[in-house]
């Protein structure tokens, strides 16, 4: 009988029961943005020198590589895959720029272009193994993490290339407006943010990315080319990581094999903090940008308060754990609430059949 009652009860679509702006405010991304604004406001008032022009400038300079790589990484994680090799691609492209400049005498733009092409190839190797051979991306990219880093270190050894033309190293640190706090690197970042936001949220390719992350079998049946989607995302990640490597080299004026060691985990932490689900199928680019900036603001505020980088790491780690725990805690709590509010003791399953009592 319960089947009948459940079947005739008018369904309520609870997630659409509120107006759009309320629904937007209840998202993970809105929470991250609110936290970012709150921390920023609090720091501006309470942390000495936080409102100085240098704070934001160095914040952007320091976070630029992570922000750059986080963009394609978001898309990769939304498909349910992961790329751990990004920091090694940064190191590889840094070394390549140095080698092209010092040993082959290529100009920086040409060397940089070649480095980006090689970065894209490095990403294509990941993409081919993951998408077409069907290997788990975690294992593949742990392998290429060691492989690309090994090539980078093998090419230069313990040497470092430091004699880059000042024109280019200055460009990496230049401000858009003289005396302002926005470095020039924000321009390519802004362009890439727009490109990736459109790609992920406003194209059919982007809808395919979400679908692959939710259920790749179903995505295949609705006409998404799952393999091609994953392949190109890894290629993009490789290319953008290589670009970040060029920036990294010019900003610090040194090409070394161990540049950006361990950055892959920082990037992934920032992406996950921005509300992207590690299982795929869920996430938005504005949340990720807010997540990266949140880490940057917390780091610079704590640094101005004379805290060591170690304490900053504790806070960021705790934030990451709390952000994922809170999701499942909220789900659990709302489960309790809705169970109490709904009049019938056993909720019906979506297919209309009564749920068996849980033992």
């Amino acid at each position: 009988m319960s089947t009948l009652t459940a079947g005739t009860t008018p369904r309520s679509y609870r997630s659409y029961a509120r107006p759009a702006w309320q629904r937007w405010l209840l998202t993970r991304e809105a929470a991250v943005i609110a936290l970012l604004v709150a921390v920023f406001a609090w720091s501006t008032v309470n942390v000495p020198n936080f409102d100085g022009p240098l704070t934001l400038y160095y914040l952007f300079l320091d976070m630029a590589p992570i922000l750059l790589i986080a963009l394609p990484m978001t898309l990769v994680i939304v498909t349910g895959e992961i790329d751990l090799s990004v920091a090694s691609v940064v190191g590889l492209s840094s070394v390549l720029v140095g080698v092209f400049h010092a040993d082959l005498g290529l100009s920086i733009p040409l060397g940089g272009l070649l480095a980006i092409v090689i970065g894209a190839i490095a990403g294509a190797v990941n993409g081919f193994l993951v998408a077409y051979v069907g290997l788990p991306s975690l294992a593949v990219t742990i392998g290429t993490l060691a492989l690309y880093r090994g090539i980078a270190v093998g090419l230069l050894g313990t040497k470092a290339v430091t004699d880059f033309p000042e024109k280019w190293t200055d460009l990496a640190k230049q401000r858009i407006v003289e005396g302002g706090s926005y470095p020039v690197v924000l321009i390519p970042i802004a362009v890439l943010v727009v490109v990736f936001a459109i790609l992920l949220h406003f194209t059919s390719f982007g809808r395919g990315i979400f679908e692959v992350g939710l259920n790749d079998e179903a995505a295949r049946f609705t006409g998404v080319d799952v393999e091609r989607t994953k392949f190109w995302l890894f290629v993009m990640t490789g290319a953008v990581s290589a670009f970040a490597g060029i920036y990294y080299t010019l900003r610090y004026g040194s090409a070394r094999g161990d540049n950006a060691n361990g950055m892959e985990l920082q990037v992934i932490a920032a992406v996950l903090l921005g509300g992207v689900s590690i299982f795929g199928g869920r996430g938005a680019l504005h949340g990720v940008v807010a997540g990266v900036l949140l880490i940057g603001v917390i780091s610079s505020a704590m640094r101005l308060e004379d805290q060591t980088v170690n304490k900053i790491n504790i806070v960021i780690g705790a934030l990451l754990v709390l952000s994922v725990i809170s999701t499942s805690f909220l789900a659990w709590a709302s489960g309790l609430r809705s169970a109490r509010r709904w009049p019938w003791p056993q909720r019906s399953r979506p297919d209309g059949a009564a749920q068996r009592p849980q033992s």
Binding site: G143, R149, G154, L272, I316, G317, S328
Partner: protein, 366 residues
């Protein structure tokens, strides 16, 4: 030998006699393949420079160097088998190594007590991971990435600018790092005992087999009534305790604990497990394979310079090895699936489909 055709052992192992079956399993095992690569590597290097294996120093470092990574890889395997991953082991190693040094420095406790405290501290850190993963129902990758930062942050803020030096450690404890029994270093013996205990448990004990069941299909494990949360908690505690033991090893081996102790060793531990045939999505693989993988990873590092390859390239070789291992797994499993499909299509006369075979198999057989 003709009866052990590749088909027979893959398609219908129960048709073979137990002895042949065991022989076939061993011959086809991943452990044997990786061990052969390791033996070949050592043999090749020894022909280049005989002291690599036969010199007393070479022999000792060949055995003692992998001990830390073996212990970590064993713990990592226990976690990976349940379809989780523990990225925090490197930070746990650093924290417990520093704790070991501090205990010697500040309290003067006897060495066995210090070792126990360090292992217990590691287990405690693993317990935190386990509680968050098992009861928070959140992915282990994210949680242990978070605790990687937290534990290392705690370690570094606690240590500040000072570090533990070899002079601070009692010399009879440091001698553990170099002591040998019948030319086998003590640390290696301890690592092998740990390997044996954990391996025996995983292979025979009920709770050990349940870890494999959970990793193969977590939902099915819940439906079957397995205590999934408790077992996952246990797996993370084992991993943490072994990382604590690895921290003790680190102090005994190197004497000094600086800020980069155990830095990014977690990915090496995962890599060792992958090379040893542990499936990254859980449910299969043994600690035997993982430990041989760990030994191979470490031995490559010391063998490459002898072979005339600059040791700057060692990470590239390690990466290529991990990729080769993953690709090999894929090729082998695809081949087995094809053989099973062929055997199924040949008909029930060739391969009797048992009444309790899975519904999916029956459906596919029609």
């Amino acid at each position: 030998m003709s009866t052990i055709t590749p088909d027979a052992i893959e398609v219908r192992p129960s048709a073979l006699s137990p002895g042949r079956r065991a022989l076939g399993t061993v011959l086809r095992s991943r452990e044997l393949a990786v061990a052969l690569v390791l033996v070949a590597l050592v043999a090749l290097t020894t022909t280049k420079s005989s002291s690599f294996l036969l010199g007393s120093d070479g022999w000792r470092s060949l055995l003692v160097n992998p001990s830390i990574l073996i212990v970590l890889a064993v713990g990592q395997t226990v976690v990976i088998v349940t379809r989780n991953v523990d990225l925090s082991v490197g930070s746990t190693l650093g924290l417990t190594a520093y704790l070991t040094g501090r205990l010697f420095l500040d309290t003067g406790l006897p060495a066995p007590v210090v070792v126990l405290v360090a292992v217990a501290a590691g287990a405690g850190l693993g317990l935190v991971n386990g509680i968050l993963v098992a009861f928070g129902k959140v992915p282990a990758l994210v949680i242990t990435l978070g605790t990687l930062y937290i534990y290392r942050g705690i370690f570094l803020s606690w240590a500040g600018s000072d570090r533990v030096n070899a002079g601070d450690i009692p010399s009879d404890f440091l001698r553990l790092g170099t002591a040998q029994v019948l030319t086998v270093p003590v640390l290696t013996i301890v690592a092998l005992v740990v390997l044996g205990l954990v391996g025996y448990h995983l292979q025979t004990a009920r709770s050990g087999r349940e870890l494999y069941a959970i990793g193969s299909d977590p939902d099915a494990a819940v439906l079957y009534g397995l205590p999934v949360a408790r077992r996952v908690l246990f797996a993370f505690m084992v991993s943490g305790a072994l990382a604590g033991l690895a921290g003790v090893f680190y102090v005994a081996r190197y004497g000094t604990v600086s800020s980069n102790a155990g830095l990014s060793i977690e990915l090496q531990a995962v890599g060792a497990a992958v090379i040893g045939g542990v499936a990254i999505f859980g449910g299969s693989g043994t600690v035997w394979g993982a430990s041989i993988g760990a030994a191979l990873l470490v031995t490559i590092n010391s063998a490459l310079p002898v072979l005339g390859i600059s040791d700057f390239w060692q990470r590239a070789v390690v990466g290529a090895l991990i990729l080769a291992a993953v690709v090999l797994d894929r090729v082998l499993s695809a081949r087995q699936a094809r053989r099973l499909a062929v055997a199924r299509d040949v008909g029930p006369g060739h391969l009797v489909i048992e009444p309790n075979a899975g519904a999916g198999d029956k459906e596919a057989a029609r």
